[in-house]
């Protein structure tokens, strides 16, 4: 299988990727493009931003490999590069798994707390608590 640019783990590439994802407007643009390709003016509309501002965001996203420009010379619609986004998600995977495991255990703790009758150790700790 051909490695995607992100999987080659070049630090500069990753910096661009994380930098691109760090901005809420850019994440909103990606969310919009997940529904289908869109032109610059279509992308600018919901944000009430000027086209030059949106274009600046699009440049950052394109440099990170997250979007590309379709060949339609007139409309130049942007589209999501799904593979780059999947690679970013894969990058989060060990972290996500750790916290999924922890939160799964936390769900169980919360359920037991809801059942009332706290275990004796809990009662003792409560008694020791300072006001």
């Amino acid at each position: 299988m051909k490695a995607s640019p992100v999987h080659s783990s070049k630090p500069a590439r990753l910096d661009a990727l994380f930098g691109a994802l760090a901005d809420p407007t850019r994440r909103a643009i990606l969310a919009r493009l997940a529904l289908g390709e869109a032109t610059v003016s279509e992308l600018a509309e919901p944000h009430r931003l000027t086209q030059p501002t949106i274009s600046k965001h699009l440049k950052v996203l394109e440099a990170a490999g997250l979007i590309s420009t379709a060949r339609d010379a007139q409309r130049r619609p942007r589209r999501l590069e799904v593979s780059a986004l999947a690679a970013a998600d894969g990058w989060f995977e060990p972290f996500r798994k750790l916290w999924e495991a922890r939160y799964g255990a936390l769900d169980r703790v919360l359920e037991e707390m809801a059942d009332g009758a706290p275990p004796p150790a809990m009662k003792k700790a409560k008694a020791r608590r300072k006001p």
Binding site: P94, R96, K97, W99, E100, R102, G104, L106, V109, M122
Partner: protein, 163 residues
Amino acid sequence: MTAKPPASTISITTPSDHELSWSRRFRAPIARVFEALTRPELVRRWLLGPEGWSMPVCEIDLRPGGRYRYVWRRDRDGQEMGMGGVFEEVSAPTHVTFTEVFDEAWYAGHALGRYQLVDEGATTLLVQTMKYESREVRDGVLRSGFEAGIEKSHERLEAIFSE
């Protein structure tokens, strides 16, 4: 069509290039979630390490300037991994901020952590944020998760649930 929102998956975002934020919704009222996040006898039951590691030390002095200390120990050979820090703001039940330093730094410097809880009635949204000293540090944390073996920890939990 359920009355309660489904147990949500974790949503991970990068609010700035030094920060990492992740959130998850819990089916419990805010006061109970706050307790589970801050009482040592409860924290040690969910703040898991890799498989084969236990958490012999979990001390929490929950007040501004109070310290906390967590130690995980590999049962097989007694190898330990510890971390701790100081609470800065403590505002039950909505937020806690703290510093975080590992004994054997697997990332550089210290980080600032924050638990933020959003009261949704029967459910609570927990937003955890960590601010690292640099983007490189943050990306390293994302990459490694905790250390090797985290996936095992996940599998172990699934095994427990399916028993």
